[in-house]
Every structure is written in structure tokens, then in C-alpha cells.
Assembly symmetry: C2
Homo-oligomer: 121 residues x 2
DNA sequence: ACTCTTACTATACAAAAGTATAGCAATACT
DNA sequence: AGTATTGCTATACTTTTGTATAGTAAGAGT
């Protein structure tokens, strides 16, 4: 799916590190992955709620990304036999931990902006 | 360039966090960014060296990505007036710190793989 | 004048990622 | 039978990202 080349193809960085980095990138890259994860984290578990919560996402993209996130073990999909049918997407335990990566990204991003004197954007 | 939507467009997450995350994603996403950064980190400073070091990258992509990384304040470009001309790309101090993000990604990726019992890929 | 080296740029094309718009299937309620 | 709600799928299209291949510019050496 993602055939990013990385450190391994260059020198000694262990292969499983590279795989790990690629896994992580797969989970967070793309236009809608983070918005979706954030929405679920903030308590929107149902398709309609997530859709309403994210401005301008199309149903195609939403279901595509939800499928991928489920496949990657980041969220779960549960069907409840109420009526109308209720389907809930929730973060897995492992999925929740991805916040630590986001924290690292915020930290670097903020200090990088400071040290590089960016004003606008 | 990257109009990733994120947490802010969903709820309360502070805007500068979102900008920070987007900055970070811009620096590491795409097929060649990490290989290039890794190559420079490993001591390949010159265009030819980086190119020789990364299998199958085209000159177009290499110069495109180097420009972007420079623009983003992650690497510097220095021209030395030797002959033939020598140009060196090096990580900025801030650029080097992005390793902390990669560490977080490796950590999550590895433990996620464990907890999800992935075997192959 | 020709060749070598380094560090690229130009043009055309292919593949991947995302958008727009419409419609479907299941169940219940009226 | 008709309408509403939820959770999607289908098809066609545009945009972004990456590839392939060739060529350029500047200086030194022969």
C-alpha cells in the first residue's frame, strides 16, 4: 500500500524500526486520518456523528478511512442491533497510545516554529 | 501546500497545536523525505552522495525534496567554491531534533505490532 | 575544442489520493 | 404503500504526487 522507502534502504537502521515507522505513518498520514481519530477520541463514535463533525468529508472518504483504520488495528467497529442500526467506532487500547506520537509531533513542531521564527502560515 | 484538516476543525484542540502537527507531517511525509533525512544524518552531505545512497530516486525528486526541506528549515544548503563545485546539505539543529518524533513513531509502531500480533508485512 | 564532474532543470507521463454527485439496503413508523 | 433514519456503495472525475528520460550550466583538465 505505502511503499515509502526509509532508513533501512540506506544504511544500518534495523528493519523492524523501519516497519514500525511505516506503520505509524500509515495511521496518521492522509488528509482525513487525524480528523477522524480526533473526532472519535472526542466522543463521536457513530458514522453520522463523525461525518457531521468533520467539515466537508465525503461519505466515500469517511468509510474508506474507517475501514483502513480498523484494518490497521487502531479502531474497532461494533454493530448494535437497535433500530435504526447503530454502529460504533472506538479507539483500540493501542490506538489511544498514538497520542504519544502526536505529542512528540506537537512538541517538535512548536519548538521548530519558535527556533525558525515563523510568523504567519 | 498541505491542506490537511485536523483536530481544530473538529473541536477544542488549540490552533497552534494543529499547525505544529501539520509542520511535522510536512517534514516527514512523502516517499523520499525520510530516506533523504536519514542519508544526511548518516553523513551524506552532497547531492551525488545522497543520490547514490538512495536506491532509485530521480534527480527531479531529490532536488525537489531538498528544496522543500531547506525551505522548511530542516536542512541548510552551503555552496563551497571548490572545483568542481561542492554543495553540502546538513541538518539544522532543529532538524536534528526531529529524531525525537521518529523515536516516538518507532516506539508506538513496535508496541502496536506486538499488541496486534502482526507476523509478516 | 572536447571531455569530465557536479549539481541540477525541463517536459511529458503514470499512478495515487481525494472530490462530486447520486443512489442503495435494511428496518421501523405512519 | 410512502417516508424517515442510518450507514454506507458506485461511478466518474480532478488534483497531487511521483516517474522516466533527456538535457543544461559552470568550471577544470587534456
Amino acid at each position: 500500500m505505502n511503499d515509502l522507502l526509509t532508513i533501512s534502504e540506506i544504511k544500518k537502521c534495523p528493519v523492524h524500526y523501519v516497519l514500525a515507522i511505516n506503520d505509524t505513518l500509515n495511521v496518521i498520514s492522509g488528509k482525513w486520518k487525524l480528523p477522524i481519530l480526533a473526532s472519535i477520541l472526542y466522543g463521536n463514535y457513530r458514522y453520522k456523528d463523525i461525518q457531521a463533525n468533520i467539515d466537508k468529508i465525503t461519505p466515500r472518504m469517511l468509510s474508506k478511512e474507517l475501514k483502513e483504520l480498523e484494518l490497521n488495528g487502531v479502531i474497532t467497529r461494533n454493530v448494535y442491533d437497535s433500530t435504526p442500526v447503530r454502529i460504533e467506532y472506538k479507539m483500540t487500547e493501542s490506538g489511544k497510545n498514538i497520542l504519544s506520537v502526536l505529542d512528540a509531533m506537537v512538541d517538535w513542531g512548536v519548538s521548530h516554529r519558535k527556533s525558525t521564527f515563523k510568523h504567519s502560515d
